[in-house]
Protein backbone atom coordinates (compact mmCIF):
# COMPACT_ATOMS: atom_id res chain seq x y z
CA UNK A 1 0.00 0.00 0.00
CA UNK A 2 1.27 3.46 -0.72
CA UNK A 3 0.75 6.74 1.11
CA UNK A 4 -2.51 7.40 -0.73
CA UNK A 5 -3.77 4.00 0.42
CA UNK A 6 -3.79 2.30 -2.92
CA UNK A 7 -3.36 -1.40 -2.27
CA UNK A 8 -1.93 -3.79 -4.83
CA UNK A 9 -2.45 -7.50 -4.45
CA UNK A 10 -2.32 -10.82 -6.20
CA UNK A 11 -5.43 -12.97 -6.42
CA UNK A 12 -6.96 -15.83 -8.29
CA UNK A 13 -10.02 -15.03 -10.35
CA UNK A 14 -12.81 -17.07 -11.75
CA UNK A 15 -14.93 -15.83 -14.60
CA UNK A 16 -18.42 -17.28 -14.91
CA UNK A 17 -17.40 -20.58 -13.37
CA UNK A 18 -14.73 -20.85 -16.00
CA UNK A 19 -11.04 -21.47 -15.54
CA UNK A 20 -9.15 -19.88 -12.69
CA UNK A 21 -6.87 -17.04 -13.65
CA UNK A 22 -4.21 -15.25 -11.66
CA UNK A 23 -4.13 -11.49 -11.67
CA UNK A 24 -2.70 -8.35 -10.15
CA UNK A 25 -5.29 -5.92 -8.81
CA UNK A 26 -5.51 -2.61 -7.02
CA UNK A 27 -8.08 -1.23 -4.66
CA UNK A 28 -8.39 2.15 -2.99
CA UNK A 29 -8.70 1.47 0.72
CA UNK A 30 -10.84 4.60 1.04
CA UNK A 31 -13.39 3.21 -1.38
CA UNK A 32 -13.72 2.57 -5.06
CA UNK A 33 -13.78 -0.42 -7.31
CA UNK A 34 -11.21 -3.13 -7.54
CA UNK A 35 -9.25 -2.56 -10.71
CA UNK A 36 -7.32 -5.13 -12.67
CA UNK A 37 -3.72 -4.26 -13.50
CA UNK A 38 -3.07 -7.49 -15.30
CA UNK A 39 -4.91 -10.78 -15.64
CA UNK A 40 -3.38 -13.82 -17.24
CA UNK A 41 -4.35 -14.38 -20.82
CA UNK A 42 -6.07 -11.02 -21.02
CA UNK A 43 -3.20 -8.59 -21.03
CA UNK A 44 -0.40 -7.99 -23.45
CA UNK A 45 2.47 -5.60 -22.90
CA UNK A 46 5.19 -3.77 -24.73
CA UNK A 47 8.41 -5.75 -24.88
CA UNK A 48 11.93 -4.35 -24.75
CA UNK A 49 12.05 -4.64 -28.52
CA UNK A 50 8.83 -2.68 -28.92
CA UNK A 51 6.76 -5.74 -29.77
CA UNK A 52 3.92 -7.34 -27.88
CA UNK A 53 3.87 -10.31 -25.53
CA UNK A 54 1.02 -11.92 -23.62
CA UNK A 55 0.76 -12.34 -19.89
CA UNK A 56 0.62 -16.05 -19.06
CA UNK A 57 0.59 -16.18 -15.25
CA UNK A 58 1.28 -14.14 -12.14
CA UNK A 59 0.75 -17.03 -9.77
CA UNK A 60 2.71 -16.59 -6.52
CA UNK A 61 3.96 -13.19 -7.61
CA UNK A 62 4.17 -10.63 -4.81
CA UNK A 63 3.64 -7.19 -6.40
CA UNK A 64 4.83 -3.81 -5.15
CA UNK A 65 3.40 -0.29 -5.49
CA UNK A 66 5.07 3.05 -4.83
CA UNK A 67 3.76 6.51 -4.04
CA UNK A 68 3.53 7.34 -7.73
CA UNK A 69 1.00 4.51 -8.14
CA UNK A 70 3.54 2.65 -10.23
CA UNK A 71 3.45 -1.11 -9.85
CA UNK A 72 5.93 -3.85 -10.53
CA UNK A 73 5.63 -7.63 -10.42
CA UNK A 74 7.06 -10.79 -11.87
CA UNK A 75 5.07 -12.76 -14.39
CA UNK A 76 5.36 -15.55 -16.84
CA UNK A 77 4.80 -14.20 -20.33
CA UNK A 78 4.60 -15.67 -23.79
CA UNK A 79 7.30 -14.50 -26.19
CA UNK A 80 7.08 -16.16 -29.58
CA UNK A 81 5.08 -19.01 -28.05
CA UNK A 82 7.67 -19.57 -25.30
CA UNK A 83 6.88 -18.85 -21.64
CA UNK A 84 9.57 -16.68 -20.09
CA UNK A 85 9.77 -15.19 -16.61
CA UNK A 86 9.56 -11.44 -16.88
CA UNK A 87 9.70 -8.38 -14.65
CA UNK A 88 6.88 -6.01 -15.58
CA UNK A 89 6.24 -2.38 -14.75
CA UNK A 90 2.83 -0.70 -14.73
CA UNK A 91 2.42 3.04 -15.14
CA UNK A 92 -0.77 3.72 -17.09
CA UNK A 93 0.25 0.76 -19.17
CA UNK A 94 2.16 -2.44 -18.88
CA UNK A 95 5.72 -2.72 -20.13
CA UNK A 96 8.59 -5.13 -19.80
CA UNK A 97 11.60 -4.28 -17.67
CA UNK A 98 13.69 -7.39 -18.17
CA UNK A 99 13.32 -11.12 -18.57
CA UNK A 100 15.07 -14.44 -18.13
CA UNK A 101 17.86 -14.59 -20.67
CA UNK A 102 18.87 -10.95 -20.20
CA UNK A 103 22.34 -10.09 -18.97
CA UNK A 104 22.46 -10.34 -15.19
CA UNK A 105 24.20 -7.20 -13.98
CA UNK A 106 27.97 -7.44 -14.31
CA UNK A 107 28.08 -11.15 -13.50
CA UNK A 108 28.71 -12.07 -17.11
CA UNK A 109 25.82 -14.52 -16.91
CA UNK A 110 22.16 -14.37 -17.77
CA UNK A 111 19.06 -14.42 -15.64
CA UNK A 112 17.49 -17.86 -15.50
CA UNK A 113 14.88 -17.53 -12.77
CA UNK A 114 13.45 -14.88 -10.46
CA UNK A 115 12.39 -14.97 -6.84
CA UNK A 116 8.82 -13.71 -7.11
CA UNK A 117 9.18 -10.88 -4.61
CA UNK A 118 9.09 -7.49 -6.31
CA UNK A 119 10.25 -4.29 -4.62
CA UNK A 120 9.84 -0.74 -5.90
CA UNK A 121 10.81 2.61 -4.43
CA UNK A 122 9.58 6.11 -5.26
CA UNK A 123 12.46 6.64 -7.68
CA UNK A 124 11.24 3.73 -9.78
CA UNK A 125 14.13 1.49 -8.77
CA UNK A 126 13.45 -2.20 -8.45
CA UNK A 127 15.53 -4.63 -6.40
CA UNK A 128 15.11 -8.36 -6.84
CA UNK A 129 16.67 -11.73 -6.22
CA UNK A 130 17.44 -13.93 -9.19
CA UNK A 131 19.21 -17.04 -10.32
CA UNK A 132 21.67 -16.74 -13.15
CA UNK A 133 23.78 -18.99 -15.28
CA UNK A 134 26.55 -20.16 -13.01
CA UNK A 135 29.92 -18.45 -12.91
CA UNK A 136 33.24 -20.31 -12.93
CA UNK A 137 32.88 -21.03 -9.23
CA UNK A 138 29.38 -22.44 -9.62
CA UNK A 139 27.69 -19.45 -7.99
CA UNK A 140 24.34 -18.68 -9.53
CA UNK A 141 22.30 -16.43 -7.25
CA UNK A 142 22.37 -12.71 -6.74
CA UNK A 143 20.70 -9.51 -5.68
CA UNK A 144 20.17 -7.00 -8.47
CA UNK A 145 18.89 -3.51 -9.00
CA UNK A 146 17.28 -2.12 -12.11
CA UNK A 147 14.98 0.61 -13.31
CA UNK A 148 12.65 1.02 -16.25
CA UNK A 149 15.64 0.97 -18.59
CA UNK A 150 16.00 -2.73 -17.85
CA UNK A 151 19.73 -2.39 -17.31
CA UNK A 152 20.54 -4.35 -14.17
CA UNK A 153 23.33 -3.86 -11.67
CA UNK A 154 24.70 -6.47 -9.34
CA UNK A 155 24.41 -5.49 -5.68
CA UNK A 156 25.71 -8.76 -4.26
CA UNK A 157 26.33 -12.24 -5.58
CA UNK A 158 26.94 -15.68 -4.12
CA UNK A 159 30.59 -16.02 -3.27
CA UNK A 160 30.97 -12.33 -2.43
CA UNK A 161 32.61 -11.56 0.87
CA UNK A 162 30.92 -9.22 3.33
CA UNK A 163 32.09 -7.94 6.68
CA UNK A 164 29.46 -8.87 9.27
CA UNK A 165 28.40 -6.98 12.40
CA UNK A 166 30.99 -8.79 14.48
CA UNK A 167 33.82 -7.75 12.17
CA UNK A 168 34.17 -11.19 10.59
CA UNK A 169 34.45 -11.63 6.84
CA UNK A 170 31.69 -13.93 5.62
CA UNK A 171 31.16 -15.48 2.22
CA UNK A 172 27.65 -15.42 0.78
CA UNK A 173 26.32 -18.94 0.33
CA UNK A 174 22.80 -17.92 -0.70
CA UNK A 175 20.16 -15.23 -0.39
CA UNK A 176 17.44 -16.22 2.07
CA UNK A 177 14.53 -14.22 0.69
CA UNK A 178 14.66 -11.32 3.14
CA UNK A 179 14.49 -8.20 1.00
CA UNK A 180 13.27 -4.63 1.40
CA UNK A 181 13.85 -1.47 -0.62
CA UNK A 182 13.58 2.25 0.05
CA UNK A 183 15.01 5.32 -1.62
CA UNK A 184 18.01 4.98 0.73
CA UNK A 185 19.01 1.51 -0.35
CA UNK A 186 18.34 -2.19 -0.13
CA UNK A 187 18.18 -4.35 3.00
CA UNK A 188 18.73 -8.04 2.38
CA UNK A 189 19.45 -11.29 4.15
CA UNK A 190 22.09 -13.85 3.28
CA UNK A 191 23.18 -17.24 4.56
CA UNK A 192 26.92 -17.66 5.04
CA UNK A 193 29.13 -20.40 3.75
CA UNK A 194 29.79 -22.53 6.82
CA UNK A 195 26.58 -21.56 8.59
CA UNK A 196 25.01 -18.49 10.10
CA UNK A 197 23.26 -15.62 8.42
CA UNK A 198 23.14 -11.88 8.37
CA UNK A 199 21.21 -8.82 7.30
CA UNK A 200 23.02 -6.18 5.27
CA UNK A 201 22.23 -2.78 3.84
CA UNK A 202 23.40 -1.64 0.42
CA UNK A 203 23.50 2.13 0.41
CA UNK A 204 22.64 3.89 -2.85
CA UNK A 205 24.55 6.98 -1.76
CA UNK A 206 23.75 10.00 -3.89
CA UNK A 207 23.68 8.11 -7.14
CA UNK A 208 20.53 7.01 -8.84
CA UNK A 209 21.19 3.40 -9.81
CA UNK A 210 20.48 4.18 -13.41
CA UNK A 211 23.54 6.43 -13.43
CA UNK A 212 25.99 3.73 -12.59
CA UNK A 213 27.54 3.01 -15.93
CA UNK A 214 30.21 0.66 -14.68
CA UNK A 215 31.26 -0.14 -18.26
CA UNK A 216 32.30 3.51 -18.63
CA UNK A 217 35.40 2.69 -16.61
CA UNK A 218 36.41 0.21 -19.21
CA UNK A 219 37.56 2.65 -21.95
CA UNK A 220 39.74 4.46 -19.43
CA UNK A 221 41.35 1.25 -18.31
CA UNK A 222 41.87 0.20 -21.89
CA UNK A 223 43.36 3.63 -22.60
CA UNK A 224 45.82 3.17 -19.76
CA UNK A 225 46.73 -0.33 -20.82
CA UNK A 226 47.02 0.86 -24.41
CA UNK A 227 49.41 3.58 -23.33
CA UNK A 228 51.49 1.02 -21.51
CA UNK A 229 51.59 -1.23 -24.54
CA UNK A 230 52.48 1.72 -26.78
CA UNK A 231 55.40 2.68 -24.56
CA UNK A 232 56.47 -0.92 -24.32
CA UNK A 233 56.37 -1.40 -28.10
CA UNK A 234 58.31 1.80 -28.67
CA UNK A 235 60.94 0.58 -26.27
CA UNK A 236 61.15 -2.80 -28.00
CA UNK A 237 61.29 -1.20 -31.45
CA UNK A 238 64.03 1.24 -30.47
CA UNK A 239 66.00 -1.57 -28.89
CA UNK A 240 65.63 -3.66 -32.06
CA UNK A 241 66.75 -0.72 -34.20
CA UNK A 242 69.67 -0.11 -31.86
CA UNK A 243 70.84 -3.71 -32.07
CA UNK A 244 70.38 -3.75 -35.86
Amino acid sequence: MNDSEQIVFNAITEISNGPLDSGIFTVDANGGPVEAVAVEGQNSFVTQEGGQATLESVLNSAPAINNNDQITFFAEAIFNEDPIETLLFYDDGLSEVLRAGDLAGDTGGMFTEFFNLATLNDNGDMAFLASTTADAMGNDGGLFLTDLSGVSHTIAFEGDQLLDSLGVWQTIDSFNGLLALSIAGVAFGVDYVGGGSGIFFADFGDLPPSEVPVPAALPLMLLGLGALRFVSRRKTTSQQKGSA
Binding site: N2, D3, E5, V8, F9, A11, I12, T13, E14, I15, G23, V27, A29, N30, G31, G32, P33, V34, V39, N60, A62, P63, L145, H153, L162, D164, S165, L166, G177, L178, A180, L181, S182, I183, A184, A187, G189, S197, G198, I199, F200, F201, A202, D203, G205, L207, P209, E211, V212, V214, A216, A217, L223, G224, A227, L228, V231, S232, K235, Q239
Partner: protein, 230 residues
Protein backbone atom coordinates in the same frame (compact mmCIF):
# COMPACT_ATOMS: atom_id res chain seq x y z
CA UNK B 1 65.65 4.61 -18.34
CA UNK B 2 63.06 2.98 -20.56
CA UNK B 3 61.87 0.97 -17.57
CA UNK B 4 61.38 4.24 -15.75
CA UNK B 5 59.34 5.61 -18.65
CA UNK B 6 57.20 2.50 -18.60
CA UNK B 7 56.69 2.93 -14.90
CA UNK B 8 55.76 6.58 -15.39
CA UNK B 9 53.32 5.65 -18.10
CA UNK B 10 51.80 3.02 -15.85
CA UNK B 11 51.51 5.46 -12.96
CA UNK B 12 50.08 8.08 -15.29
CA UNK B 13 47.43 5.69 -16.50
CA UNK B 14 46.56 4.74 -12.93
CA UNK B 15 46.45 8.41 -11.97
CA UNK B 16 44.23 9.14 -14.96
CA UNK B 17 41.91 6.41 -13.86
CA UNK B 18 42.12 7.49 -10.25
CA UNK B 19 41.25 11.12 -11.02
CA UNK B 20 38.35 9.96 -13.09
CA UNK B 21 37.16 7.70 -10.33
CA UNK B 22 37.04 10.53 -7.86
CA UNK B 23 35.89 13.22 -10.22
CA UNK B 24 33.20 11.51 -12.18
CA UNK B 25 30.11 10.50 -10.27
CA UNK B 26 29.46 7.91 -12.92
CA UNK B 27 32.53 6.01 -11.83
CA UNK B 28 31.92 6.14 -8.11
CA UNK B 29 31.20 2.88 -6.32
CA UNK B 30 27.47 2.47 -6.69
CA UNK B 31 26.77 0.49 -3.55
CA UNK B 32 28.30 0.52 -0.14
CA UNK B 33 27.32 -2.65 1.69
CA UNK B 34 27.39 -2.54 5.48
CA UNK B 35 26.25 -5.06 8.09
CA UNK B 36 23.05 -4.54 10.04
CA UNK B 37 22.89 -7.73 12.09
CA UNK B 38 24.40 -11.20 12.15
CA UNK B 39 23.91 -14.49 13.89
CA UNK B 40 25.90 -14.63 17.09
CA UNK B 41 25.41 -10.92 17.71
CA UNK B 42 24.07 -9.88 21.11
CA UNK B 43 20.69 -8.21 20.74
CA UNK B 44 18.53 -9.35 23.66
CA UNK B 45 17.95 -7.42 26.89
CA UNK B 46 20.31 -9.75 28.76
CA UNK B 47 22.82 -10.24 26.00
CA UNK B 48 20.93 -12.98 24.19
CA UNK B 49 22.41 -13.56 20.76
CA UNK B 50 20.76 -14.13 17.41
CA UNK B 51 20.35 -17.78 16.40
CA UNK B 52 18.50 -17.10 13.19
CA UNK B 53 16.40 -14.41 11.60
CA UNK B 54 12.65 -14.65 11.43
CA UNK B 55 10.61 -17.36 13.00
CA UNK B 56 10.70 -19.82 10.10
CA UNK B 57 7.02 -20.69 10.41
CA UNK B 58 5.77 -17.40 9.06
CA UNK B 59 8.27 -16.61 6.37
CA UNK B 60 8.98 -13.39 8.17
CA UNK B 61 9.90 -10.16 6.46
CA UNK B 62 12.26 -7.29 6.95
CA UNK B 63 11.58 -3.69 6.12
CA UNK B 64 13.70 -0.60 5.57
CA UNK B 65 12.77 3.07 5.75
CA UNK B 66 14.11 6.04 3.85
CA UNK B 67 16.76 6.63 6.51
CA UNK B 68 18.20 3.16 6.09
CA UNK B 69 16.82 1.83 9.38
CA UNK B 70 16.00 -1.85 9.07
CA UNK B 71 13.30 -3.66 11.07
CA UNK B 72 13.70 -7.40 11.45
CA UNK B 73 12.69 -10.28 13.66
CA UNK B 74 15.08 -12.79 15.13
CA UNK B 75 15.10 -15.83 17.36
CA UNK B 76 17.72 -15.70 20.06
CA UNK B 77 19.47 -17.79 22.66
CA UNK B 78 18.89 -19.79 24.74
CA UNK B 79 18.72 -22.50 22.12
CA UNK B 80 15.64 -24.59 22.71
CA UNK B 81 12.57 -25.99 21.13
CA UNK B 82 11.12 -22.51 20.94
CA UNK B 83 13.86 -19.93 21.37
CA UNK B 84 12.70 -16.47 22.43
CA UNK B 85 11.92 -14.09 19.61
CA UNK B 86 12.17 -10.38 19.27
CA UNK B 87 11.67 -7.46 16.94
CA UNK B 88 14.71 -5.27 16.42
CA UNK B 89 15.65 -2.10 14.60
CA UNK B 90 19.11 -1.91 13.17
CA UNK B 91 21.19 0.41 11.08
CA UNK B 92 24.58 -0.05 9.54
CA UNK B 93 27.27 0.85 12.03
CA UNK B 94 24.92 1.13 15.00
CA UNK B 95 23.96 -1.21 17.82
CA UNK B 96 20.48 -2.67 17.40
CA UNK B 97 17.48 -1.33 19.28
CA UNK B 98 15.02 -3.69 20.91
CA UNK B 99 11.53 -2.89 19.74
CA UNK B 100 9.92 -5.86 21.45
CA UNK B 101 11.14 -9.00 23.12
CA UNK B 102 9.34 -12.10 24.20
CA UNK B 103 8.20 -11.67 27.80
CA UNK B 104 7.80 -7.91 27.58
CA UNK B 105 5.11 -6.91 30.02
CA UNK B 106 2.55 -4.67 28.36
CA UNK B 107 0.65 -4.01 31.58
CA UNK B 108 -2.00 -5.90 33.51
CA UNK B 109 -4.69 -5.33 30.94
CA UNK B 110 -2.71 -6.23 27.89
CA UNK B 111 -0.59 -9.11 29.17
CA UNK B 112 2.79 -10.40 28.21
CA UNK B 113 4.23 -10.78 24.75
CA UNK B 114 4.26 -14.48 24.07
CA UNK B 115 5.46 -15.03 20.53
CA UNK B 116 6.96 -12.00 18.87
CA UNK B 117 7.63 -11.44 15.29
CA UNK B 118 6.32 -12.50 11.98
CA UNK B 119 5.52 -9.45 9.92
CA UNK B 120 7.31 -6.17 10.52
CA UNK B 121 7.12 -2.72 9.02
CA UNK B 122 9.02 0.48 9.81
CA UNK B 123 8.16 4.06 8.99
CA UNK B 124 10.42 7.06 8.56
CA UNK B 125 10.02 7.94 12.24
CA UNK B 126 11.59 4.61 13.13
CA UNK B 127 8.34 3.29 14.58
CA UNK B 128 7.97 -0.40 13.98
CA UNK B 129 4.77 -2.38 13.67
CA UNK B 130 4.66 -6.12 14.05
CA UNK B 131 2.31 -9.01 14.60
CA UNK B 132 2.54 -11.10 17.74
CA UNK B 133 0.63 -13.05 20.33
CA UNK B 134 0.08 -11.95 23.90
CA UNK B 135 -0.77 -13.98 26.96
CA UNK B 136 -3.31 -12.52 29.40
CA UNK B 137 -4.26 -14.64 32.36
CA UNK B 138 -3.56 -17.87 30.57
CA UNK B 139 -5.39 -16.96 27.38
CA UNK B 140 -3.69 -15.98 24.18
CA UNK B 141 -4.60 -13.30 21.69
CA UNK B 142 -3.16 -12.43 18.34
CA UNK B 143 -2.67 -8.79 17.62
CA UNK B 144 -0.84 -5.96 16.00
CA UNK B 145 1.66 -3.95 17.98
CA UNK B 146 3.64 -0.76 17.65
CA UNK B 147 6.97 0.02 19.22
CA UNK B 148 9.57 2.74 19.02
CA UNK B 149 12.35 1.22 21.09
CA UNK B 150 11.87 3.66 23.96
CA UNK B 151 8.88 2.18 25.74
CA UNK B 152 7.03 -1.12 25.87
CA UNK B 153 5.17 -1.81 22.64
CA UNK B 154 1.58 -0.69 22.43
CA UNK B 155 -1.24 -2.97 21.44
CA UNK B 156 -2.96 -1.51 18.43
CA UNK B 157 -5.40 -4.24 17.47
CA UNK B 158 -6.27 -7.63 18.88
CA UNK B 159 -8.83 -10.39 18.95
CA UNK B 160 -12.21 -9.17 20.08
CA UNK B 161 -11.61 -5.55 19.19
CA UNK B 162 -14.46 -3.83 17.34
CA UNK B 163 -13.61 -3.78 13.69
CA UNK B 164 -14.83 -0.29 12.98
CA UNK B 165 -17.32 0.31 10.20
CA UNK B 166 -17.44 -3.34 9.30
CA UNK B 167 -19.73 -3.78 12.28
CA UNK B 168 -18.13 -6.87 13.75
CA UNK B 169 -15.36 -7.59 16.17
CA UNK B 170 -12.08 -9.19 15.35
CA UNK B 171 -12.50 -12.80 16.32
CA UNK B 172 -9.12 -14.47 16.36
CA UNK B 173 -7.81 -11.54 14.44
CA UNK B 174 -5.04 -13.03 12.37
CA UNK B 175 -6.84 -16.30 11.80
CA UNK B 176 -9.99 -14.45 10.85
CA UNK B 177 -8.08 -12.68 8.16
CA UNK B 178 -6.39 -15.82 7.01
CA UNK B 179 -9.72 -17.61 6.76
CA UNK B 180 -10.96 -15.29 4.12
CA UNK B 181 -7.77 -14.53 2.28
CA UNK B 182 -5.35 -16.58 0.34
CA UNK B 183 -1.99 -16.74 2.12
CA UNK B 184 -0.17 -14.60 -0.40
CA UNK B 185 -2.95 -12.10 -0.36
CA UNK B 186 -2.88 -12.13 3.41
CA UNK B 187 0.81 -11.33 3.36
CA UNK B 188 0.27 -8.58 0.86
CA UNK B 189 -2.52 -7.09 2.89
CA UNK B 190 -0.63 -7.37 6.14
CA UNK B 191 2.37 -5.72 4.63
CA UNK B 192 0.23 -3.08 3.02
CA UNK B 193 -1.64 -2.50 6.22
CA UNK B 194 1.47 -2.21 8.31
CA UNK B 195 3.33 0.17 6.05
CA UNK B 196 3.60 3.89 6.30
CA UNK B 197 1.51 4.60 9.40
CA UNK B 198 2.92 6.83 12.08
CA UNK B 199 0.37 6.83 14.87
CA UNK B 200 -1.62 4.17 16.62
CA UNK B 201 -4.80 5.99 15.73
CA UNK B 202 -3.82 5.93 12.12
CA UNK B 203 -3.19 2.21 12.33
CA UNK B 204 -6.64 1.72 13.80
CA UNK B 205 -8.04 3.55 10.83
CA UNK B 206 -5.96 1.45 8.49
CA UNK B 207 -7.43 -1.64 10.07
CA UNK B 208 -10.89 -0.35 9.37
CA UNK B 209 -9.84 0.44 5.83
CA UNK B 210 -8.44 -3.05 5.52
CA UNK B 211 -11.74 -4.53 6.51
CA UNK B 212 -13.41 -2.33 3.97
CA UNK B 213 -10.96 -3.40 1.33
CA UNK B 214 -11.64 -7.02 2.16
CA UNK B 215 -15.33 -6.40 1.73
CA UNK B 216 -14.68 -4.69 -1.55
CA UNK B 217 -12.95 -7.87 -2.56
CA UNK B 218 -16.06 -9.84 -1.80
CA UNK B 219 -18.23 -7.31 -3.57
CA UNK B 220 -16.03 -7.81 -6.57
CA UNK B 221 -17.68 -11.20 -6.97
CA UNK B 222 -20.28 -9.47 -9.04
CA UNK B 223 -17.83 -7.55 -11.16
CA UNK B 224 -16.13 -8.65 -14.32
CA UNK B 225 -13.26 -10.00 -12.28
CA UNK B 226 -14.90 -12.08 -9.57
CA UNK B 227 -12.51 -13.37 -7.00
CA UNK B 228 -12.39 -17.08 -6.54
CA UNK B 229 -10.01 -17.76 -3.69
CA UNK B 230 -10.04 -14.84 -1.36
Amino acid sequence: MSKLKTLHAFLASIALLGVSLSASPSLATPFTIAPVATTGQAVGPDGQTIIYFGDDASGSKIDVNDLGQVAYTASTTPVGEVPPTGVFRGMAGQAPDIIAYQGDNLGPADGVLFVVGSQVSINNAGETAFTASISTGGTFKDGLFLGDGNAAPAVTAFDGQPAGPVGDSFNSFCRQVSLIMERQLLLDFLKAMLREFSLTAVLGRRLMLLCRAIRLGFLANSSSYPFGWI
